[in-house]
Each structure stands twice: as C-alpha cells, then as structure tokens.
Subunit: 159 residues, 2 copies
C-alpha cells in the first residue's frame, strides 16, 4: 500500500484532461439526444442494431452481446422502449426461454429523425475540432486500449 505506483506529473495532467474531455463529449451528446429526441444514447444504439438486422429483429441475447450490455440492462431498456412504442417483444418458437426484440415502424421513424442531429453533435464535439492526423492517432489509441481490455473483440470490431 505504501509503495503504490503513482502517476507522474505528466500522466496526471493527461488523466485530468482525459476525464474532462471524455465526460464533456459524452454529456454533450447525451444531452442533445435526450433533448431533441427524448432518448438516451444507449437506446439509440439499440435501435441502430435492430435497424441493421434482418426483419429489424434480434434475439435479446444477441442484441445484448452486440451492444455489450448486460442482459438485465437490456431487459430494462427494452421494457422502457416497448412502453414508448419503439420496440416489440416476440416469443421465440424454437427456444421457449428466448425472446426476440423487433423495431417497430414508429421506432424506425424515430431513429431516422434522431440521426442527423446526433451525428452533427458527434462531429462538432469531436471530429470538427481535431486535425486528420489527430483523428488517426485517436483511432489507434482507442483500438489499442480496447484490445487490451477484457473481452476486447466482438461483432463490429474493425481494428
């Protein structure tokens, strides 16, 4: 305990900037989407996954794995989205434990309406303020960090 490895002055500086920057980006995006479309980014991502799937339908577990959500988290989220009329549940005939989540037409329309504002926010908070070189560097850094973590790969991985 007494001989813990502390951060260097430089590392502390980077860490503070990292925390401030990543939180800023996240909260700006979260706020925009909540304000303009009434949904958190997590729901947006769930709807994107569903919209790209055949018949806009996925098994709950498949959906959870793609979004890297816990099953519980997804279950709560889908329940909420069902109440909003964006998603429906259907029983799985081949596995009686299973359930499908289906994106409704209303959900799809909501997603389409939400997308431009969301993308614009992503650009203005992150990409528009960085040089192309910095974007490359950031991509490399994030890929490295991701690879190093637990369960580094998964669907959607593109180095």
């Amino acid at each position: 305990m007494g001989d813990a490895r502390w951060l260097s002055t430089e590392q502390q500086r980077v860490w503070r900037n990292y925390m401030a920057a990543t939180r800023m980006v996240e909260s700006e995006i979260e706020r925009q989407l909540q304000r303009d479309s009434g949904m958190p980014t997590t729901y947006y991502e769930i709807m994107v996954s569903l919209s790209e799937a055949p018949d806009r339908t996925l098994r709950m577990s498949e959906l959870a794995d793609r979004s890297r959500f816990s099953r519980s988290r997804l279950s709560h989220a889908v329940a909420r989205m069902e109440r909003a009329g964006w998603v429906e549940r259907r029983d799985c005939p081949s596995d009686k434990r299973g359930a499908f989540a289906v994106l409704t037409e209303k959900g799809f329309d909501t997603l389409v309406a939400a997308a431009p504002g969301h993308v614009e926010q992503v650009r203005s908070a992150l990409f528009d303020v960085l040089t192309e070189e910095q974007v490359d560097q950031l991509g490399e850094i994030c890929a490295t960090v991701r690879k190093a973590g637990p369960d580094p790969f998964g669907p959607g991985w593109a180095g």
Copy 2:
C-alpha cells in the same frame, strides 16, 4: 435533414473504437472503486478536492465548480456522503445562504485507503497499454477537445 453531414467510413471506425474504449476504461475504473471502496468515482473526486483544500473544507459552490458538477448533483452526493460519515456540512457565518463541506477524518482515511487501488486501475486500463508517444498525443487531443467545448477552462486547467 436529408443532406446531413454523415461520418466517413474512417470516422465511423474511430467513433466506434472511441465509444468502446472510453466506456471500457470508465466502467473498469468505476467497478473497481465501487467493489473495493464502496464509492463511485464522483465521490472519490469530491473527496480529493476536499482533501487538498485548507482545513479540508470548501464552499459547496466552489466544490461544484472545481468538479464541474451541477449544484443539485453535488447536493445529493454530499447528502449521501454525509450519511456515510465521510463529509460534514457546516453553515457559513458570512453568508447565511451558504454552506461548507468538510472532509471528516473517516472520509480522509477512506480516501487514503482507496487511492492505491484506484490509481493502479487507471494505469492498467490506460497508461500501461500506451506508448509514451501515444500518451503525449492523447493529452494533446484531450486538451484540444476540452478547449473547444463549453466552459473550456476552470480550476485545475493545465492545458
């Protein structure tokens, strides 16, 4: 709406890696601190701010500004931390609206006990997996993003 500026393929790749990486880092750190010390990172940061202040005491508003928390958020957090015995509130004699937050001895000890594990987690999730060059680049990128955002500066800024 129809002519929105979408992300390029490369930007999408970076964005996905960014989301995955930053969430991974955040959730690993959050989980470690919650599991080992029973507190979220936000409370940790509040306690750090208090521990560095004279008499381990700060006005609520000052504390909110330093951590970039809303007043409401801080108020709720301090209420919770008071119940845990880590912090106390004191009235401000010169401004009867005001309130001080004071880090208790128990709070200080808890912070000291929590620090090594937290720092180790920060290192292993972020700094240990990057080259020195990448750390420099990340610092520069985060400083840029931070500068570009709303209310870019503040106490603790070291660009």
